[in-house]
Structure formats: structure tokens, C-alpha cells
Symmetry: C5
Subunit: 99 residues, 5 copies
């Protein structure tokens, strides 16, 4: 999985039936030191993630393993909102502390 | 998923039976700020997308989850036409406004 | 899917049983403007493609969806021979015209 | 599969049900000469790997083939702790020797 | 699929049950002109490949399609030992000739 930060939304009315009702979020992939990369993905949200939150993104067929997504044509899903990240002994992200 | 813009078509008569009847579009992958990347993919269209439209592209086995594509040998499908994109609080794309 | 040009063959006698009988072709991935990239893949041919032909390559589990390949351990298959490519309103490739 | 070194942990309470109970580790992908790359992945641990250990990481649908992970939405799993690595006739890593 | 050369082995005792009994080889991915790239993968051997041999590597779920690997958590398998490679009309690799 990869770490990302929610930075926007994509709105679409003309879409495949099986995608209807799902919120599509723009996620900027980030490094563990919290620095943004230049890569963005469009992800289906499964955990009620909001703008600016740090999340875990799952790709490929595994993106359909969140229970309700079995036949949804998504290859990228948000499966967790991150509380904290520890890297090499340091807390590099702590949601409760406002980072 | 990824954002892309439809820039062309690929015509083929000698192809696998299961691909027959599907339109193959050339999609230029774009960044959320609407800038084109140098990457192109050939995608099966499932939503009637037209030239110049901004779309969402799905890859891998999920590309076969749009209902009619279950056994079609495609790894890239267009599953949505984008109406608008919001990035960091700004509307960066609005189809109705002619962008 | 991706565009490629057939540039060679790979011969192997010691291979997994399920791969036996399939022709393995060296495909140079190309951009839609017909320029070669530095990337090559080894692909199973399903459409009788020949040297120099421009083809469509499918990756991943979808490479096994061409009917006869269901349990073949291939992650890259040639599923179509390209007749013509139109990019931004121009015909950039036309097989009949000798390009 | 790829080689990596465990460098941290990711904590999340708001996550997909099927991910609950699994430890999420930050893995820095490394080259066979043991040099760190700039790439990190978030992986589900299946073998009790600890900080600093060199492990083997599996991606994609295969990441769910470790027995207990069949319906877990993970695309990256740690499936082995490395004892030693031999590259071009030299032992480049030996856990018992403290490397 | 991709071409590679076997350059080493990875030994692990603490691994997922389903991986037990399989030999894990370090494969250096190579270009069709036989030049090494900087990329290495850890692959399950299914054809008895030895040090220095040029092989074909399969990725993703297809890596489990070699008959005995159906539920093995591998995303990279060696499925063929290469005898010869022809690129643009020239034999660029011939195992029998000592290359």
C-alpha cells in the first residue's frame, strides 16, 4: 500500500453503473517523511476520509476487497485513515497533534 | 484510477474475438492541473466518451469489472467522463464552462 | 493496453508445460507518434503477428483472457494487429499505406 | 518479489474492517547490494518481522495468498524474513553475522 | 514477460508456509541486447534454472499459473530458460554458443 493525502474530488455523472454512489477523491501520494510526490491518483473512498487527511491507498485487484467493492471497477481504494507514522524511531506524523 | 484526455483512436481488424465490437481509444494521461504527461494508453471505452473529453481510466483486472467486459482481454478501460475536478479548494476543470 | 512493434523472437525449450506451443515475441513498446521507447517486453502471440507489425499489447491477468490462454503463465499478450492510428486529428499510422 | 528493510510502523484506527488486527509496517525497498532506494511501501506483516530486519515483499493479488489474507484488501505483504543473500558468488547479507 | 539473468539466491527460514520448499533466486532484469539493467527481482524458480542463465520472468497473478504455484504467494516466477534471442534479424543471444 501507499501513503497519500486527500487534496480534491472528481465529479462525474456519466459513469459505469457500478461506480455510481461512490465518492472519487484526488489523492496526492506522499513519502513517509510527509513530503508530497508529483503523483496523484483517483481513489474510491471506503472510510469517510476528508480533505487534508493522510490515508492508506490500495491498488489493483486488492482495491476491490473492501467488502462493498467486489464488482466495482476501481483499481485504487482508500482503506484507512492514518493516525500516526513512526519512521526510524521518530514520530513523523501524528494526526492528534495537528502533525 | 488515473485522469486522461481522449486524443485519438486505434483501428484493428485482426484482433482477438473477445475484443471485437469495442472501440479502442488513445488516452493521454494528464495531471490534476490538466497538464498532459508524455504517457499514452490504449483503452476500451465503456461510457461513450468523445474526442477531447477528460475521463477516468481504470487499469488491471478492475478494467474488466465494467459489466460487459468480464472476459474481454483489456487491462485499461474508460469508466467515467469527468464533469469537474476540485484540487486544493480550486475548481481546476469544469466541463460545462468549456474548462 | 500499449502499442508496440514486433522486433524479434525468444526461443526456449526448457519452459513451463503450459507455455509450450506458444510463440514468444520481442515487442518494442512505442509511443503513439510511432517513436520507439527503450522498453521491450516478451509477449505471447495470439493473433499471428509478424516481424515489424504494430500491435496492441495487454498486461497482467487480462493477458490470459484471450480464449486459449486461461491457465497459461503469461502476463503479456498480443491481442490485436493495428491497421491505423489517428492522433489529434491526424493519421499517424496506416498499415495499408506502408506507414 | 522485492527486498526491503523494515523502517517503521503506520497506526490507523479508522480502517476497513477486513484490515483490522493486522500490523502495518513501513518497508524501505532495497537493492541486492543492501543499499536503500527512495521507495517505501506500507505492508501487512505475516511473519512477525521486526524493526531493521531484511524481508521479502510480495505485491498485487499474490499479497493475499498468504493463508490468512484471502479477503484482506492488501496489495503488499511481507512473506519472508531473509537469512542471507548471495549475489554473484559473494554473501552480501548474513543476518547471523550482524550483516 | 521480461528477460533476466540469474545472479544469486535468497535464503529464508522464517517464511509463509506456502512458500516453503521453493528456491528463491535473485534475477537481474536485462535488455534484449543482453545489457544488465539496475533492476533486480526475487523470483520463484519453476524450471531448474542455474546461475548465469538467461530466463523469462513472469509477474503478477500470472506468476501463480505455473501448475504447482496456484496458492503460493509469489508475484514473480521464472517460467522458461532462454535458448536464443533474435532481435531485428540478428541472433543477440545463443546459449549453445556460450553467447
Amino acid at each position: 500500500m501507499e501513503l497519500g493525502r486527500i487534496e480534491g474530488t472528481v465529479v462525474s455523472t456519466a459513469k459505469v453503473d457500478r461506480l455510481k454512489g461512490y465518492k472519487l477523491l484526488l489523492v496526492n501520494l506522499i513519502n513517509p517523511d510527509m513530503k508530497a510526490t508529483s503523483n496523484y491518483v483517483v481513489a474510491v473512498d471506503t472510510v469517510g476520509a476528508g480533505k487534508g487527511e493522510v490515508v492508506i491507498v490500495v491498488r489493483g485487484s486488492s482495491a476491490r476487497q473492501a467488502k462493498t467493492l467486489q464488482h466495482v471497477p476501481t483499481d485504487t481504494s482508500i482503506v484507512a485513515i492514518v493516525d500516526s507514522i513512526e519512521l526510524k524511531g521518530k514520530i513523523v506524523f501524528d494526526k492528534a497533534a495537528g502533525e
